[in-house]
Amino acid sequence: MVQSEESVQPELVVEMKDVHFSYSGDKSGRNQRAVLHIPHWQVASGQQVFIQGPSGCGKTTLLNLLTGMLTPDRGSICLLNKNLVTMSGHQRDRFRARHIGVVFQQFNLIPYLSVADNIGLATYFGKSLAKGQGKFADSKIVALLEQLQMPKALLTQRADSLSVGQQQRVAIARALINDPEVLVVDEPTSALDCTASDAFMKLLLEVSRDNNSTLLFVSHDQRLASNFDEIICLTELNRVVADAV
């Protein structure tokens, strides 16, 4: 089921065509497990998309494919009109760092690094700032934290000394520091209680809208779906699951 609330789609940010993905079995190719087959799927720029589906339907695999961490067996995955499949591994890593922000379910941060260093990692890999612009980077981090309603004093604290909610906010700051066109979020509220979850969702939708990022949000929690422009049910999009069903 694909529910689209907009009839006129602007520029495409994501376009998947005939994408097949399977986890390899042993060396001879036996026990190969097909996980995804998406004939066609596209997302327009600025959309906030909710991707739902039960556990094991391939949600996380889809995100891994979209971020270029996994490559499909066949088909094409275009992000911002660039085909991830034809890129080298290095090019995909660089593309991900510059254009995609990622927030996980939990354990988003490197525990032994400070908040500033965790966010700084993204600027380092994204090379979004030229050398000598360290102060500008710092002020950008501070501004982002302020936007996420976090005190500046947290910058020097170790990530593992923060609460889960604070860690998730830092993860958003890190995901947004390079002004990514695409924000990929994987069940970020699973470790939060209802109140914290609602506050987090409000904040996430706000900042992604403010940053003009296309939001791809994966969750099995249908309660959250009402906040989004578009809702995708992966079990219908994914032919492997549909065939199995």
Binding site: L63, M69, A97, F107, N108, Y112, G120, L121
Partner: protein
């Protein structure tokens, strides 16, 4: 950033990090220590004597003669008669000779009776002569010239009087205290056993033994220093002597003549050949020590690889986070390799510091007890090669956890928690 992440990651696991560093530091300490002491011992022995063509002593092994006559290690099996010395040193092929008479000591330092020719002809290192930092060679019977270490450790000044002891023990109950010697000269430091020696004239040695026939003091008989001077102080025998020849071509002929000397069983040795024999004997021991040190290092490096590998399980999330923010798989690989290198580098720094401290503390003891002069300057081409090999071995050992992390980062995606 790579460096920062590696450092903070190691510090996050500081207990295992410190233990691994300690184990690597100890193994590198042993490895570099063995290599440094080996090199320094060779250099120390090699620079002790130069320009001496032959050393002659009572018949014994060439190593024993070399050790007691030059390095003051061990004892002579017998003495040489003064007559034989005079006969052999009068040979036309002989340019100069230095008689040596050993057997007495002063507070653990050996006393060597010799002639003034010693100060003129003896050379050490690259043909360097002995130089006085104060005073001059002995001219009177009861004059003594001190080696640099003796003067420094015992804080003796020019003109000060000291008493020699019979025998070589550090604590002696039989002293020649009725015949004190006066310090007339102090030699500059040579980095050889000369620094640990008190030099007196052969007449001085003879004088203190006037009332000691056959090495034992005659009971109830005491001859004062003034009375001793009135005796004939020509030595009846000496311990060994060194020869410098007019021509190197004559060396083997003179050596053969001395070895076949019919009036007394003598042996003449070439210092260089005797040293070569010493190193040949030592080389198998050196190789065994080196092998043991290498194995100890290898065990430590395997321990380090195990530690890194064991930490991988808890680091899969960390790898996933790094990958998500754009780190390449090579970054992950390099991170693990860099951590291994930092462990080894810290271990190496600790080892060098420990080695420097240990040698600084043991320097005096080694020079006093074994005539070994070990410097704290560690660098040598061999040490350079060893350091390169240590880092190469570290790289190879860290390949296992690094490749594991690399493969994990290639195969996995964002959801690694």
């Amino acid at each position: 950033m790579l460096f920062k992440v590696a450092l903070k990651s190691l510090w996050n696991r500081r207990i295992t990090f410190c233990l691994t560093v300690l184990s690597i530091a100890i193994s590198i300490f042993v490895l570099l220590g063995v290599e440094h002491v080996r090199k320094e011992a060779r250099e120390s022995f090699g620079r002790t004597v130069s320009g001496v063509d032959l050393i002659v002593g009572a018949r014994t092994s060439q190593l024993n003669l070399l050790l007691y006559s030059v390095f003051r290690i061990g004892n002579a099996t017998n003495n040489i008669s003064w007559q034989s010395y005079q006969t052999l040193s009068a040979n036309k092929a002989v340019a100069w000779s230095i008689p040596i008479s050993l057997g007495d000591s002063h507070r653990g330092y050996r006393v060597m009776g010799t002639s003034e020719d010693y100060f003129e002809h003896f050379r050490f290192g690259p043909q360097k002569p002995l130089v006085f930092s104060a005073g001059q060679p002995f001219s009177e019977v009861f004059d003594v010239v001190l080696g640099a270490d003796v003067a420094r450790s015992l804080d003796y000044q020019m003109g000060q009087k000291l008493v020699l002891s019979h025998g070589l023990g550090k604590t002696s109950f039989t002293k020649h205290d009725d015949k004190p010697f006066r310090v007339v000269g102090v030699l500059q430091s040579t980095g050889t056993p000369v620094d640990q020696t008190l030099h007196v004239s052969l007449a001085g040695i003879e004088a203190i033994h006037v009332d000691w026939p056959n090495g034992v003091q005659r009971p109830g008989v005491s001859i004062s220093a003034e009375q001793a001077l009135r005796h004939d102080l020509t030595p009846s025998n000496i311990t060994a002597f060194m020869l410098g020849l007019n021509s190197k071509m004559a060396t083997f002929r003179i050596q053969r003549d001395i070895n076949e000397y019919r009036y007394e069983p003598l042996v003449a040795i070439l210092p260089g050949v005797a040293l070569a024999e010493l190193w040949q004997m030592m080389s198998s021991m050196e190789k065994i020590l080196l092998l043991i040190s290498v194995l100890v290092l290898l065990a430590s490096l395997i321990g380090m690889a195990t530690m890194l590998l064991a930490s991988m399980r808890e680091r899969y999330r960390e790898i996933a986070v790094l990958r998500a923010v754009g780190a390449s798989s090579w970054f992950i690989f390099l991170l693990i390799e860099l951590e291994a290198m930092l462990i080894t580098l810290t271990g190496l720094s600790l080892a060098l510091l420990g080695l420097w401290s240990a040698i600084s503390l043991a320097q005096d003891y080694l020079s006093e007890q074994y005539g070994l002069f070990i410097s704290t300057d560690f660098y040598s081409p061999n040490v350079g090669v060893l350091l390169l090999l240590i880092f190469a071995a570290t790289f190879v050992m860290a390949l296992l956890p690094a490749v594991n992390a690399y493969r994990r980062s290639v195969q996995s995606g964002v959801n690694n928690s």
